[in-house]
């Protein structure tokens, strides 16, 4: 608990995803993948986790960078928060993602931390899980033998648990191109110490020419053990003209999915997180609506 150095470990730097996957398989669960390392290294230094093998993904070509086409954005797993925040393509095609990336921790962490690392680790208070849920992202994973795509809303399974298999490497995040009239936003109430989200809400709102909401997607983080969609809030918004009172009524449902499982710690009680999901929900939805219009 008071150590400042990691336990001994061996370090490998594979040059392909396949090789990384084979190393994972061979380790039998004693290895850890490292991307930016800003969640993993502090845990290793305090010896809360002590992997025997550290598999560094930084030498694998093609895992980093952002590209966009008519289908949307493809974001490499090793793309840093800073790159997300400053990318024109992300700012245009997935504004909430840039907005959330810019609110992660501090400059040093944003220069190192990666989207793939954030999603694969699935910190219950991480910012990006809520955003990829609301953006209906698809997460690509590869093993030595196969690759597959996992919709974001089937990716986050439990506390620090994702749909990734033990031999899979998260490689890419695809975000579909937004339809006309779409606005997105991320708002959070931050823990003053860590800047993680006490509650964070991402909203993607699509409005048609007549002012009716044709699609609403809400993702919540920080409130419970893992990020979730707020489907009941979405249903209230869809098919309606988004007046302030409709937004408020929908926000009343933000976080209800966590009933009985709200996080509670020295920073905030379950009751406060439950109440704040609604308040931050109003903020995120209202901003998204404004940007949609």
């Amino acid at each position: 608990m008071t150590t400042s150095a990691t336990a001994p470990f061996s370090y490998v730097r594979p040059s392909s995803v396949e090789e990384a996957s084979r190393l994972l398989s061979r380790s039998g669960g004693s290895a850890a993948l490292i991307a930016g390392g800003h969640s993993l290294i502090p845990l290793m230094k305090t010896r809360l986790v002590s992997p025997e093998v550290l598999i560094d993904l930084s030498a694998i070509d093609g895992l980093s960078g952002i590209s966009s086409d008519t289908n949307g954005l493809n974001i490499g797993a090793m793309t840093s928060y800073e790159e997300l925040e400053s990318s024109d393509a992300v700012n245009e095609g997935a504004y909430a993602l840039a907005e959330a990336a810019g609110q992660v921790a501090d400059v040093q962490v944003r220069n190192w931390g990666t989207i793939g690392g954030a999603l694969a680790y699935s910190d219950p208070a991480g910012d990006l899980p809520a955003v990829v849920l609301a953006l209906e992202a698809t997460i690509s994973a590869r093993s030595a033998r196969a690759s597959r795509s996992i919709p974001a809303d089937r990716f986050f399974r439990d506390f620090l648990t994702t749909a990734l298999r033990a031999n899979e490497v998260l490689t890419e995040i695809h975000i579909p191109a937004p339809s006309k009239g779409t606005g997105s936003a991320y708002a959070k109430l931050a823990n003053k110490a860590s800047h993680y989200a006490l509650v964070g809400v991402a909203a993607v709102i699509q409005i048609d020419g007549s002012g009716t909401c044709t699609k609403a997607r809400i993702g919540v983080t920080g409130a419970g053990p893992f990020a979730k969609r707020s489907r009941r809030a979405e249903r209230i918004l869809e098919g309606k003209e988004l007046t302030d009172s409709v937004v408020r009524r929908a926000a009343e449902r933000v976080g209800v999915e966590y009933q009985g499982m709200f996080n509670e710690d020295i920073h905030a009680s379950a009751e406060y997180r439950e109440a704040m999901a609604k308040v931050i929900g109003v903020r995120a939805i209202s901003m998204a609506v404004e940007r949609a219009g």
């Binding site: 008071t2 150590t3 400042s4 150095a5 336990a7 109430l189 003053k192 020295i266 905030a268 931050i280």
Partner: protein, 801 residues
């Protein structure tokens, strides 16, 4: 550079090396054959040690030795307490615990290895069999019947019960006669100092000379040497303590720590140099904490706004053992401040010092004075609210009148000089109070909650007149020393017994010396932090360096000037009183061709060819200064906050600080100190707190959970000063290092209470966390709704009853 002078905002000359990586911190000290130490620390807050099996650790790669407490017991002794109050229980404090551990972090074994990594790896191999005991972490609960007992010789976990009263002991009678009596329990939460550089130690032993040398990140090298020698029996003249560059301290490096004793004795046992660098995690649990008071506070007075008295009982949580100065902090530096800036006849203060299963508590920036100021300034606001008067008007009505040379107040102490109206008036020139109240009304109509808070504070700095301190329990004199050594070429080295941990001594002291001797600023070096170089000195704490150490320097400078003048006069063939010394040149009136520079005189002093009779060669002076009084800085801080009714988030919108710290040597350094102090005050008021679970685990034990403020949490500070010189020293200076921290917390909390006053809120404990504020607003609104509906029902049924 040319001659510098007092009052100039010179950039800190030490910063270039510190910022560019050329500083020398303890971790930069590397000696041949250096071995590394890691500590096995207790994971239990309270437990008996049944056995320690270190065999696996001793056999681990790179490990040289494993030391346990039982093994070193005789050599290590018990850590001393440097402040002893009447009837104080000071139970033993073994540097390495044996038999029993009393807090999470208590060290039980030390591992010496070839590398720090091997040493840390081996800590996991030491098998300690513990028998856990019941735990108490709360200062009040620890004194209650049935609480787990930490020490055999401290019944009820009580170290002391200390009191101070106004001479007539008349508070209770005054309260009976008063029109208004207000009582409030206030908690001043525990804080973790978090200096940028954690602690670190290198110890070496020279078997030939039997000298132990200890490099340690400390504020008090000479006291470390004295106490180390006292504890271990190793003779003081064979101990050298060096404090190299120290990366911040805030009071947390003001003690003899267990690790200093252990490292020194390991070096002696193994006859080789050893190093230990504290990790940040370790710093959270093994370095002292600050504050942690539960105060039952009371104010009484009349509806015309006159305050008749303050009363307070405090449970001061001291942690598991007495740290070096722990008993002095919640007593002398707290109780003696309880008259504030007010003409209050009756004061009553009782402090119970309590042991709990937590990290020891000692000084943290402000040390006792922020706790006292918080209680006082909150009480004054509560009193003003109760009698329906303006808090500024109530303060004015009770201010002590202006005085320049001493005024005795009800606590029995003598303030040096004060003009409390001046700082308040200046602050109100910067801050348009009337306009703010208008804005506040308008904001309220728009659903915004904003409030203003005042803190008209005073503090005790310049520690300390030795005899006074000794009568109050101090175990060491608190005077200061200086040596001014003029070299034959006229350059100067100044040695000071104070020791910088970031205060800018090397700049400030050089300004004083440059002006007095007329020697170019760049030709003067300030040397501090090495017991081999300076005469005994007390160190840097309690905002004392310039007011005590600066005065000691001034005295040496005067002696050097006197001797130089005598030599110059002799060489120019005149009497000393015919010689004028200005800007580094000795001249004789009416004989313009007769003149000597300071450097020429220095050369003559050392060549010693033509000195006046009875004059020793050389040009050097040593001085010791023991002040007759403390210095008493004061000021007025004004804070504006906004509270979000939706989330409870609270933000400081504006912060105005007008301080009076007497004369100022380097305004830029002083501004920096005040800014930093206010930032730490905002940290306490808004977000910082150490949290223990009931079983004694520190839940806020890392930067992920302990919220040190950053730039984004702070507004622009609007600062100014008034100048009321201190008569306690010839420089007329008062302490600046802690004033901001002392003043800030009540200004902020008063502002938050003011923002919610219309909801019936009277008091809020720190920190002003969002959830707490949200609950207060929610509960207050529910209460108001309930009251409205009760009134409505009463109206409905009113006619019938």
């Amino acid at each position: 550079m040319t001659i510098a002078s007092k009052g100039e905002s010179l950039k800190r000359r030490e910063d270039h090396r510190l910022i560019t990586g050329d500083g020398t911190y303890v971790d930069d000290v590397r000696l041949p054959g250096l071995s590394h130490v890691a500590f096995v620390r207790s994971p239990h807050a309270h437990a008996l040690i049944r056995s320690i099996d270190a065999s696996a650790a001793a056999a681990a790669p790179g490990v040289q030795r494993v030391f346990t407490g039982a093994e070193l017991q005789e050599q290590l002794g018990s850590l001393p307490v440097g402040w002893v109050l009447p009837d104080q229980n000071s139970p033993p404090h073994p540097p390495l615990a044996f038999e029993k551990v009393r807090y999470v972090g208590d060290a039980v074994a030390a591992i010496v290895a070839d590398s720090p990594y091997e040493a840390q790896d081996a800590t996991e191999l030491v098998k300690v069999e513990y028998e856990p005991l019941d735990v108490v972490v709360d200062g009040e609960k620890a004194t209650q019947m049935g609480a787990p007992q930490l020490h055999e010789d401290a019944p009820d976990n009580t170290s002391f019960e200390w009191e101070v009263h106004s001479a007539d002991r008349g508070y209770d009678d005054a309260a009976k006669e008063a029109e208004v009596v207000i009582k409030q329990r206030m908690r001043n939460q525990r804080l973790i100092p978090n200096s940028m550089e954690p602690r670190g130690i290198v110890a070496d032993f020279n078997a030939g000379t039997e000298q132990i040398t200890i490099w340690t990140s400390t504020q008090i090298p000479h006291l470390v040497r004295l106490l180390f020698s006292a504890v271990t029996g190793h003779p003081e003249h064979k101990v050298r303590v060096i404090a190299p560059d120290v990366g911040g301290a805030f009071g947390s490096k003001l003690y003899l720590y267990a690790e200093e004793v252990i490292l020194g004795m390991i070096a002696k046992n193994l006859k080789r140099p050893v190093k230990w660098i504290e990790s940040r995690q370790e710093n959270f649990i093994a370095t002292t904490h600050g504050r942690d008071h539960i105060a039952d506070a009371e104010i009484c007075g009349n509806r015309d706004g006159t305050i008749s008295g303050f009363k307070v009982h405090v449970y001061a949580n001291l942690g598991a053992y007495l740290s070096t100065f722990a008993p002095g902090i919640p007593t002398i530096l707290y109780g003696l401040l309880l008259s504030g800036v007010y003409k209050v006849p009756h004061i009553s203060c009782v402090v119970t010092g309590v042991f709990t299963n937590t990290t020891p508590v000692d000084a943290y920036r402000g040390a006792g004075r922020p706790e006292a100021t918080f209680v006082l300034e909150r009480l004054v606001d509560m009193f003003a609210a109760e009698i329906g008067r303006d808090p500024v008007a109530v303060r004015r009505k009770n201010f002590l009148p202006t005085f320049k040379n001493g005024r005795t107040v009800s606590t029995g102490v003598v303030y040096d000089s004060g003009d409390y109206r001046a700082t308040l008036n200046r602050a109100l020139e910067i801050f348009d109070y009337k306009e703010f109240r208008r804005e506040q009304r308008e904001a309220r109509r728009n659903g915004r909650l904003i409030g203003v808070g005042f803190s008209t504070y005073i503090e005790i700095s310049g520690l300390a007149p030795s005899a006074v301190a000794a009568s109050l329990g101090a175990g060491a004199g608190l005077w200061e020393s200086s040596t001014v050594r003029v070299h034959p070429t006229g350059t100067v080295t100044v040695y000071t017994g104070t020791a910088s941990s970031g205060q800018g001594h090397e700049t400030t002291f050089a300004q004083i010396a440059s002006e007095e001797l007329g020697v170019p600023y760049d030709d003067i070096d300030i040397v501090h932090g090495d017991t081999e170089k300076q005469p005994f000195g007390t160190g840097t704490f309690g905002s004392r360096s310039v007011s005590v150490g600066g005065q000691a320097l001034l005295m040496s400078l005067v002696k050097v000037k006197e001797k130089a003048t005598k030599i110059a006069a002799h060489q120019m063939g005149v009497e000393p009183d015919q010689v004028t010394f200005k800007d580094g040149t000795f001249t004789v009136e009416d004989i313009p061709e007769s003149q000597m520079t300071f450097a020429e005189v220095a050369g003559q002093a050392y060549s010693a060819v033509n000195l006046p009779p009875d004059t020793e060669p050389g040009l050097e002076a040593v001085s010791f200064f023991d002040p007759e009084n403390f210095t008493w800085p004061f000021g007025c801080h004004i804070c504006v906050v906004e509270v979000s009714p939706d989330t409870g988030e609270t933000r400081v919108l504006r912060y105005v600080a007008v301080d009076d710290i007497g004369n100022v040597i380097n305004p830029m350094i002083v501004d920096g100190m005040l800014h930093g102090g206010i930032a730490q005050g905002i940290g306490q008021a808004m977000q910082e707190r150490a949290v223990y679970s009931d079983d004694g685990q520190l839940l806020s034990g890392s930067m992920l959970d302990y919220a040190v403020p950053t730039a984004e949490d702070l507004p622009m500070f609007e600062t100014d000063r008034t100048v009321t010189p201190s008569p306690s020293n010839d420089l007329g200076v008062k302490g600046a290092g802690e004033a901001g921290t002392i003043a800030a917390t009540p200004a902020i909390v008063n502002a938050a209470v003011d923002a919610l006053k219309h909801l019936g809120v009277r008091h809020i404990d720190m920190p002003l966390h969002s959830e707490k504020m949200w609950r207060i607003i929610r509960d207050a609104r529910e209460k108001q709704r309930a009251e409205r509906s009760t009134r409505a029902k009463q109206r409905e049924t009113g006619g019938k009853s």
